[in-house]
Each structure stands twice: as structure tokens, then as C-alpha cells.
């Protein structure tokens, strides 16, 4: 690890201030991607702005038709929160399937979304539920947020403060995990919402994306059979040691089917 300056602010304002002063500053949330890459000397921030002391970034609120999760809320809390489990069971289940207990105890929703790992779970829920990402500067619609491989709509220094999920009529998530890392090789989140059916896919492409053909098919009837024969094209999908693009394309259909079957 190269040396860096460490800051532990207690407010969003101070965090943004500390970030702005650094030449190559990074925010530190759960640190599951950042710290290993620093240890491997692949990342060399000048300043690390640790968000662990910012109380206003933590917590879960469920009111009316919305679940709002503070950016620094760890996955484990989302997974075990009774109100979340009642309002959007698929979201609680998704959070409970990220990594292992240690990861879920440290990793946060804000960190996951800011990093936008192509194989992360949360992006599927954010896009699948049509969530709103609130930052210290503005609100960003899920549909406008994911831009590419590790690329989001966030500007330099912009800090996610919370994420608001509208409660759907029904939603489900199915993930096919990488046997080694347990990240998603393909994860599909399906939701029947007031605004229509949404199907979001993570793991398969450079970033989470919506699957229009499946959304259309499910609009005619929200059943597993409706998507069973909707194929996804392999072109443009990720291909690596663990899964070819063709395999991922195949799994998009299989996981969509299973997500619908699991939806509640």
C-alpha cells in the first residue's frame, strides 16, 4: 500500500470538503474493492475520506410506498431489517446473498453503487425497482445512473447519500453466483410496479441493464413461462474464464425465469 492522507469526517459537508482538497481523493465506504486494490498497489489515492463516522449516511426508513436506505448502511442490516423484508422481500433477500457475513457486515449500498462492479448485486435491484439515487448534489434516476464498466453518472467528488426504492407489487431476484468469488455471473431482478414490469440484469454486461423483451413478455402475464423462451443475445456480454458470453446469455433467461418464480 502506498501512503495516503486519512480523513474521518462526521458530516456529508465535511466529507465533500475533505475530498475536494485532495488531489486524487477517494471516499472509503466498506472498502471491499478499494482496500484490496490499494494493497496490491493498483490504486494510489492521495487522500482517503472514510465515511464510517458520518451518521447521517446510515439507516433505513420505510414509509408509505418507499424504502430509503442510507448510503453507509451495510448489507447485513438491509437483509435483516423486518420492515424491508415486509415491503420488498426481494431486496432483503438480495442483500442477504451478497458475499459472506463478514462482507455483509462491512459492505454498503452506497459503496456498491458508486463502484458499479459489473457483477455486483445491488445494481440489479436499483435498476429493477426504478430506484432514485440521492447524492449530496442531486437526485439521479436509476435509468440514468449506470453508464458502463465501473462508470456511473456520479461526478468527481459527488457522494451518494441514500437510495430510495419504490415498493413494487411483486419482485424477485435470482442470481447465478461465480463459484469462486460468489459475485453474480448473472443476476436478474424482476419487478411488477405501478409503472409497469421492469427486468434488470447484472453480471452479464459491462454494467447493469434492462431487458426490454422480457419486460414486454412479462407485461402480458407475470409468469415464469412468459420469459422461458425469451432469448438474450450473447453479443456485447462479458466473457471470461468463468463464463462465456453464450453461457451468460443463456443464464439471463434461466435466472429471469427463476426470479419471476420466486417473486413475492
Amino acid at each position: 500500500m502506498y501512503s495516503f492522507a486519512y480523513h474521518k469526517p462526521t458530516s456529508v459537508k465535511d466529507a465533500a470538503g475533505a475530498f475536494a482538497k485532495g488531489s486524487e481523493a477517494r471516499y472509503l465506504a466498506g472498502g471491499h474493492t478499494l482496500l484490496p486494490s490499494m494493497r496490491l498497489r493498483l490504486s494510489h489515492p492521495s487522500d482517503l475520506v472514510d465515511l464510517a463516522g458520518v451518521a447521517e449516511l446510515k439507516g433505513i426508513k420505510v414509509d408509505g410506498g418507499t424504502v430509503t436506505i442510507g448510503a453507509m448502511t451495510p448489507h447485513g442490516e438491509v437483509a435483516s431489517n423486518a420492515a424491508v423484508a415486509k415491503a420488498i422481500p426481494a431486496l432483503a433477500k438480495l442483500a442477504g446473498g451478497i458475499g459472506d457475513p463478514q462482507v455483509r457486515n462491512r459492505g454498503t449500498i452506497g459503496g456498491s453503487l458508486a463502484n458499479s462492479d459489473p457483477a455486483a448485486d445491488y445494481p440489479a435491484a436499483v435498476l429493477g425497482l426504478g430506484a432514485t439515487i440521492k447524492t449530496n448534489k442531486r437526485e439521479i434516476k436509476a435509468d440514468d445512473y449506470f453508464k458502463g464498466l465501473f462508470e456511473t453518472a456520479l461526478e468527481d467528488g459527488e457522494l451518494i447519500t441514500s437510495v430510495s426504492f419504490p415498493v413494487p407489487e411483486k419482485a424477485g431476484y435470482a442470481k447465478f453466483a461465480n463459484p469462486a468469488s460468489r459475485y453474480a455471473i448473472v443476476g436478474v431482478f424482476v419487478a411488477k410496479t405501478k409503472g409497469g414490469v421492469r427486468v434488470a440484469v447484472t453480471g452479464a454486461g459491462p454494467c447493469a441493464f434492462r431487458q426490454a423483451a422480457m419486460e414486454k413478455a412479462l407485461s402480458g402475464g407475470f409468469t415464469a413461462d412468459a420469459v422461458a423462451n425469451v432469448k438474450h443475445a450473447a453479443s456485447g456480454l462479458n466473457s471470461d474464464l468463468h463464463a462465456s458470453a453464450e453461457y451468460r446469455a443463456h443464464l439471463v433467461t434461466v435466472m429471469a425465469k427463476r426470479a419471476v418464480a420466486a417473486a413475492s
Binding site: 502506498y2 463459484p179 469462486a180 468469488s181 474464464l241 468463468h242 463464463a243 462465456s244 453461457y247 443464464l251
Partner: protein, 793 residues
């Protein structure tokens, strides 16, 4: 049976420190004034080193020294030696290119050692290592063993044309060819035995130290065999005599074979310590472990099995290409030869077996012994081809095995490939396992799975292995450059406690408990009064260490010999004090007694009088009660067993789940059943790991290691394995005093074939016939797609 004696489920003594984090691993040791080493490693799989410019690194903060291959050559440091010499078919000795610990002229794999930077702190050494400017001229690399001997393949060593280390064979080729020619059936298979990374939980680490006042070196290293390291490094690499070199290996957190070998880092640290006049410490990062620990397996094999019209095996012919990696690791040459070819008769009566092995250099980390070492490769191919034969001929796989199994009545049994099995009841292993798994009821279970859309399969692996490599004279005749005995010293203290100094050196095998059980049982003293010392060449007698499931069979036997000497001496002392003839003294449960009388002396009293020899047979006996012994076995031991796996495949995703795993093993007599079960569980998990998840992959073009972290190299996890159904079928070894055979590797040896045979059984309805490990979901799905495409054509 004594409460804590042989056969008891005694809880592990060593856990008192392990479970509370109070153990001492090499990295826990810090020496006064120590500096820290970081290695500059080649980023290229194959490259000529044009220049190593250390000038910037030398000026970096905290740097003590930067040393390169040129310094090693100037100091006349020799290459790391191979501990076993194999001869080719034509009688020529194997090709042994030199392996200078810091590569002076050419990098031969990604991770090859180019320079070492020594600084005040580890971070400073890392900073400075980035400033070492190495000019490379990259060369084309060969990483796939199947390609390594082809014309035009890049040459790893100039002195090894065709990348050939040796071209070895064993068996009667003419007899095998004749049997194949007149066989009623011939079954052929091509198999790849996938390369594995050992991944001990404790990375390798070392501290080199030199004391100018006494001209004495000390190396602390995470090793399975400190004396072997002292011998190889001292006598062959650095030229340090034994009395000037101490090797200490404290608690070791796993090894699976990978910590048997003498590594470049050990020699560099020891050499550098004298050069810089300070202790020099290094601990591998996990990335370095992936790159530079010796890997396992990596075979490409063609096999043919001949059967007569009655389905009796008449011949087996095996042709294997085995990767050696970039350099010869310590025992690498022995693994795909004497630990592999000799096991190819298996548990069967096949009268003629011929095996040829081409060992080839590749631009990869070295390949050497990894849990099972040659025997898993032998078992895998044999059990795959037997299963294929059953399928091809439409016979029940249990029946085919029964028909060909060596009967217990045929013991001792001379195989056509050098080994003589002393004992074993292979048929019973098979029958017991089939009964436990309910072989006959499988069809019903398959139907039940089918209803859930799942494909169920069942597979057998009927193995035998050879442990406790021995005797030394035979090993020497086969090219071994070491003896393979073991040592033990039993020091009975004046007030009745015992310290055992053993040449065995556990890295997870629980010897501190099992050896103490043997002492408690044989000497009749409480187990609490026994301490087992190991791992320090200044404290223990010359020992060969722990590998090849040898600790109990060889080290335990040495211990029994030393205990017997203690008892024999005790009898002399007791006879004197009880005024009886030595021949009349009996020893039982810690008491010497004049036979048929109530005249007796407790062993504690005898021990005290040995050190306070007031009433003592001075004219015939020396004071003290401290006996040592070396034990050189008469033969290998032959654990055997039958493993049966039941798997379920999800045809939609290709996911394979092991639902059941039944193991019936014969390890001979058992000292501690709980510890044996633990060894079997771990071994099976590693076998399932090879079968389902683990695969070490290098990029064919660049030679880069693609599976260089746990994100890409898939270790089996707790939820990848079922609750195991294990039991034993004890047939005591006939030639060692404890009647024990060894259990450390059996699980790994048997498991992989059982799982893959079960997988292929599950995929039968889809027409999948060929499959190479690992059965990752992607690869299984691909195999299903390929089969359905073929069916459509």
C-alpha cells in the same frame, strides 16, 4: 484400551494453542535488528534478462541492499537441487538444468525471482522493488504440457531440447501390446488431470540469520521437513556444513506437499543475511503463493484398457505427459513416475501394465507433490477407464470391479508394476461402500431427482495407494537421493514425564496428540505427561519430515522402537532392584513386575533411579533413560478404500451438487478415530475441489497466470460438500509395529474419480461421454451443449 491410549478419540492437544491464536507461525517470529525482503519477480513468462539496473532502488529510503543473480554467481551460489533422479527409457539420466535462486540471465515463468530488495521496513522494500529497472527481451512461452514437446514449441531451457526432462517407462510393453492386439474389447480414453494450486492457509515465510561471532546460520522457514531443507540448502546450494546451520520450522499452517520443497527464497534469505549482517525476513503475499508455490498434477494422458470376452482386464497401457514447470522442484521427477506408474495396477488383477511418462518443462511455476502426489492421478485415470469400460460393455460398474479385484487371499500380491501389496481386502471395501450407499436403491433416487428436473448420477472410485515411501535401499535404487526413514528420541525425565523428539513435522496432522497417545499407551503414563517436540534441527534427531502420509507409519514406528528400548532398559534396572532375572520381568500398564509375583516397580520409580542411580546395575547399564531410534520400513504401506459419490446436475445451469459421499477406507490400525475422520474429510474436500471447482489456468499466449487470486481460483467451500459418510475396514499393516498404513492423502486420492464418474453417469441421458475436470457449471453446461449439438448433426 487406556483412556487416552491407542484407539481413543482424544481431543487435540495442540488445539490449546491453535484455537486461541497462541500458535507461533514463522511470520510471528521477529528477530532483533531484522530487515525485510521483497522479491522482484518477472512479469514475463519467458524473457531474456538484458540488464538489471538497481541504482535507483539503492537510493530509495530505508534500503539496505539490492541483490541480483549476478551477486549469486559471484558468490558461487549453486542451483537448487532435485532430490530424485529419473532415467529415460534409453538409460540416460534426466535433464537437470541449473536453477540459480535469483535468475541471472533468463526469466522462465511469471513470478521468477530476479532480485531481492532488503530494507528497514517491508513497505520500503516494496517501494524500492518498484525502482529496480529490469530490461527484458520477451520470448514466446509454452504453458500447456500437451504442447510442450511439439516441434516449434518455445524452449524453456537451452540444455533441454524439446523441453524434455525425461522419457521414462515401466512395465512389459511387449506383453501389453500383445494383450491389446488379441483383446475382446479395448477401451480408450484421453484425460487431462488439471493443474492445482496448493493454497496452504499460511503462506510461506522465512527469516535468514547469520551470527558472525560463531559463524553460524539460522533459517526460520515454514516447512514440512526442516532437516531436508538444511541438507539441500547447506550441502548443495550455499555450501554450509550442518553444524553451522540450524533450520527451525515452528507451527506450520498447512502445506499439502507444497512446503516439502527447498525454495529459492530460503536460500536467498540465508545467503543475504550474511551479506547484510542482519536477519532478513520475508513473508509471501497470497499473490506470490499463487505464482511461486509448486503446483500439483498437470497431466495429459492417453489410456487403453484391454478386456477378454469374460470382462477380465488383460492389459493396461498408459501414456502421460507430465508438466515439470520452469525448473525441477525438489521431488518433482519422482511424482509422475514412481509415485504414479507403480499404482496403475490399482486393486485389480490386470496381469500386464505398461506406462510411459514424458516429463516436460513449461513456462509455469514448478509442479511437484501435492496431497496424494501421483497417486490421485493414477487412481483418477484407472477408475475413469474402468467406469468407461462398464458403460461401453453395458455391465454394472460394481460387478465389473468385483470380477477384477485382487482377492484378500492373494496377499501378498506382486503387481506387474514393481509394488508388492502386503495386505488389504479390496473386495470388502467395495461391498461395504455399495451397501452403505444403497447401490441397488439408486434407480429410485434417480427417478425422484428426475421429477425435480435434476439429473442424478452415481460413481465409484476403488483406490489403493502407497504410503511411507520406503525402504531407503529401494528408494535409492529407483533414483531417490535421500533415505526415507524416520527418527525419534524418547527422553524419560527423572520425575516421570516424557519428551519425545520426532523427525516428523506436522502441518495440521495432529501428531502432537497421536504420538502422545502412543507414548501414554505403551509406557502407561498419563497423556498430560507427554510433550512432542518437532521442527528444529538443533533439538531433534535427523528427521525426514511429514508428507506422503508417512508420519504415523514411519515416524510412529520409530517412536515405538525408541519406546521399546526404554522398556528394555527399564527391565534391566527393575531386574536389578527387584533382584530377579531380566527375563522374568514383565512390563504392563506402566509397571515392571517379576512374573508371577507381586514384586513390582512403577516406571516412574525406575526413571528416577536411572537419574539418581544409587541402587543401579552400573556394571551392565548406563545411567539415564533417554533412547533414540531410526526406523527404515520394510515396504510401503498400502491404504485402500472405496469411495462412492452421488451427484445431481441442474441441466439448465450445469451446476453439479454432491449429494452424498460414502467412503470406506482401510488405513490399518487407527490411533485416534476422530483425527482420522478429520483427515478423511479434508482429503475428500480437496478431491471434490479438484473435481468440481479448482483449476489453475495460464494464458496460452502470454503465459500470465489467469487464476492468481481466490476471486478466480475456486477453492471448495463448506457448502460445496455434503456431510460425509465415512467408515473404516481395518486390515492391519503386516510389517510395521503399529500395524498402521496412513490416512492423510486417501480422501484426495479417491474422491475426484468418484465425483466425475457420478457426473458422467448423470449426464449419460444427454450423451455426454468426454469430460475433463473441473466440473464447473460453465464447463458442464458447455459439455451438454456440445453433446446436444453432436446429437443434432
Amino acid at each position: 484400551m487406556a483412556e487416552n491410549g491407542i484407539g481413543a478419540r482424544v481431543r487435540r492437544k495442540e488445539d490449546a494453542r491453535f484455537l486461541v491464536g497462541k500458535s507461533t507461525y514463522t511470520d510471528d517470529i521477529n528477530r532483533p535488528g531484522q530487515a525485510h525482503a521483497v522479491f522482484v519477480r518477472s512479469p514475463h513468462a519467458h524473457a531474456t534478462i538484458k540488464k538489471v539496473d538497481i541504482s535507483k532502488a539503492l537510493k530509495a529510503p530505508g534500503v539496505v541492499a539490492v541483490l541480483t543473480g549476478a551477486n549469486m554467481l559471484a558468490d558461487k551460489v549453486n542451483g537448487l537441487p532435485a532430490g530424485w533422479q529419473i532415467h529415460s527409457k534409453d538409460g540416460s539420466p534426466m535433464n537437470e538444468p541449473p536453477h540459480i535462486p535469483l535468475a541471472p540471465d533468463k526469466a522462465r515463468y511469471v513470478g521468477d525471482h530476479i532480485a531481492v530488495v532488503i530494507a528497514e521496513t517491508r513497505n520500503q522494500a516494496r517501494d524500492a522493488a518498484e525502482l529496480v529497472d529490469v530490461s527484458y527481451e520477451p520470448l514466446k512461452a509454452v504453458v500447456n504440457v500437451a504442447e510442450a514437446d511439439k516441434g516449434g514449441a518455445p524452449q524453456v531451457h537451452d540444455q533441454a531440447p524439446g523441453n524434455l526432462c525425461y522419457d521414462w517407462h515401466l512395465g512389459d510393453k511387449a506383453a501389453v501390446d500383445a494383450a491389446l492386439a488379441k483383446a475382446a474389447h479395448v477401451v480408450k480414453l484421453d484425460l487431462v488431470n488439471n493443474r492445482l494450486v496448493p493454497n496452504a492457509i499460511e503462506p510461506r515465510a522465512g527469516i535468514g540469520e547469520y551470527d558472525a561471532a560463531t559463524d553460524r546460520y539460522t533459517l526460520y522457514t515454514s516447512s514440512q521437513n526442516p532437516h531436508v531443507i538444511r541438507l539441500l540448502m547447506g550441502a548443495f546450494v550455499l555450501g554450509i556444513p550442518e553444524h553451522k546451520l540450524r533450520v527451525v520450522s515452528p507451527d506450520v499452517g498447512g502445506g499439502f506437499g507444497s512446503k516439502i520443497f527447498h525454495y529459492a527464497e530460503e536460500a536467498v534469505l540465508t545467503w543475504a543475511a550474511k551479506k547484510v549482517g542482519r536477519p532478513v525476513k520475508w513473508t509471501a503475499e497470497r499473490s506470490e503463493s499463487f505464482l511461486c508455490d509448486a503446483h500439483g498434477r498437470d497431466h495429459a494422458t492417453h489410456v487403453e484398457l484391454a478386456l477378454d470376452k469374460d470382462h477380465k482386464f488383460t492389459a493396461l497401457k498408459v501414456s502421460t505427459k507430465a508438466a515439470m514447470g520452469a525448473y525441477l522442484s525438489t521431488f518433482a521427477p519422482a511424482i509422475p513416475t514412481w509415485l504414479y506408474g507403480t499404482l496403475l495396477a490399482g486393486v485389480y488383477t490386470t496381469p500386464a501394465v505398461y506406462v510411459e511418462t514424458k516429463a516436460l518443462f513449461t513456462n509455469t511455476s514448478a509442479v511437484d507433490a501435492y496431497r496424494g502426489a501421483g497417486r490421485p492421478e493414477a487412481c483418477y485415470l484407472l477408475e475413469r477407464v474402468v467406469e468407461r469400460a462398464a458403460w461401453q460393455l453395458g455391465i454394472d460398474p460394481v460387478e465389473l470391479r468385483r470380477k477384477n479385484v485382487i482377492p484378500a487371499s492373494a496377499m501378498p500380491y506382486q503387481t506387474p508394476v514393481a509394488l508388492q501389496y502386503d495386505c488389504g481386502d479390496f473386495g470388502k471395501n467395495l461391498n461395504d461402500a455399495a451397501k452403505v450407499v444403497d447401490w441397488a436403491g439408486f434407480a429410485k433416487r434417480r427417478e425422484e431427482s428426475k421429477k425435480r428436473g435434476q439429473l442424478r448420477g452415481i460413481g465409484i472410485s476403488h483406490y489403493i495407494e502407497a504410503c511411507g515411501i520406503a525402504p531407503s535401499a529401494v528408494v535409492g535404487a529407483l533414483g531417490g537421493r535421500a533415505g526415507l526413514y524416520e527418527s525419534a528420541e524418547v527422553r524419560f525425565h527423572p520425575t516421570g514425564s516424557v519428551t519425545v523428539f520426532t523427525g516428523s513435522h506436522p502441518h495440521g496432522q495432529s501428531n502432537e496428540t497421536t504420538f502422545a497417545q502412543i507414548v501414554a499407551d505403551k509406557l502407561g503414563i498419563p497423556i498430560e505427561n507427554v510433550e512432542i517436540v518437532h521442527g528444529d534441527t538443533d533439538r531433534i534427531p535427523f528427521g525426514m519430515g511429514t508428507y506422503g502420509s508417512r508420519s504415523l507409519a514411519v515416524g510412529g514406528s520409530a517412536l515405538v522402537k525408541a519406546i521399546d528400548k526404554v522398556i528394555a532398559k527399564g527391565k534391566k534396572i527393575a531386574a536389578h532392584q527387584l533382584e530377579a532375572s531380566e527375563a522374568d520381568i514383565e512390563f504392563k500398564d506402566g509397571v515392571f513386575r517379576v512374573a508371577g509375583t507381586d514384586k513390582q516397580k512403577a516406571i516412574g520409580e525406575i526413571a528416577l533411579s536411572a537419574y539418581v542411580p544409587h541402587n543401579f546395575p552400573h556394571e551392565t547399564t548406563e545411567p539415564g533413560l533417554d533412547e533414540s531410534a531410526f526406523y527404515d520400513p520394510k515396504n510401503f504401506t498400502f491404504p485402500s478404500g472405496c469411495h462412492i459419490a452421488e451427484v445431481e446436475v441442474d441441466p439448465e445451469t450445469g451446476t453439479t451438487k454432491v449429494l452424498r459421499f460414502v467412503a470406506v477406507d482401510d488405513f490399518g490400525n487407527i490411533i485416534n478415530p476422530m483425527i482420522v475422520e478429520g483427515q478423511v474429510h479434508g482429503g475428500i474436500t480437496q478431491g471434490i475441489g479438484q473435481a468440481l471447482t479448482e483449476n489453475c489456468v495460464y494464458d496460452a499466449q502470454s503465459g500470465q497466470l489467469l487464476t492468481g487470486s481466490f476471486m478466480d481460483y475456486c477453492m471448495p467451500k463448506a457448502d460445496d460438500v455434503p456431510s460425509f459418510e465415512v467408515s473404516t475396514n481395518v486390515v492391519p499393516c503386516t510389517h510395521n509395529p503399529l500395524g498402521v498404513k496412513g490416512c492423510g492423502e486417501a480422501g484426495t486420492i479417491g474422491a475426484a474419480a468418484a465425483v466425475i464418474n457420478a457426473l458422467l453417469d448423470a449426464l449419460k441421458p444427454l450423451g455426454v461421454k468426454e469430460f475433463d475436470m473441473p466440473a464447473s457449471p460453465h464447463r458442464v453446461w458447455q459439455a451438454i451443449q456440445n453433446a446436444s449439438r453432436k446429437a443434432a448433426d
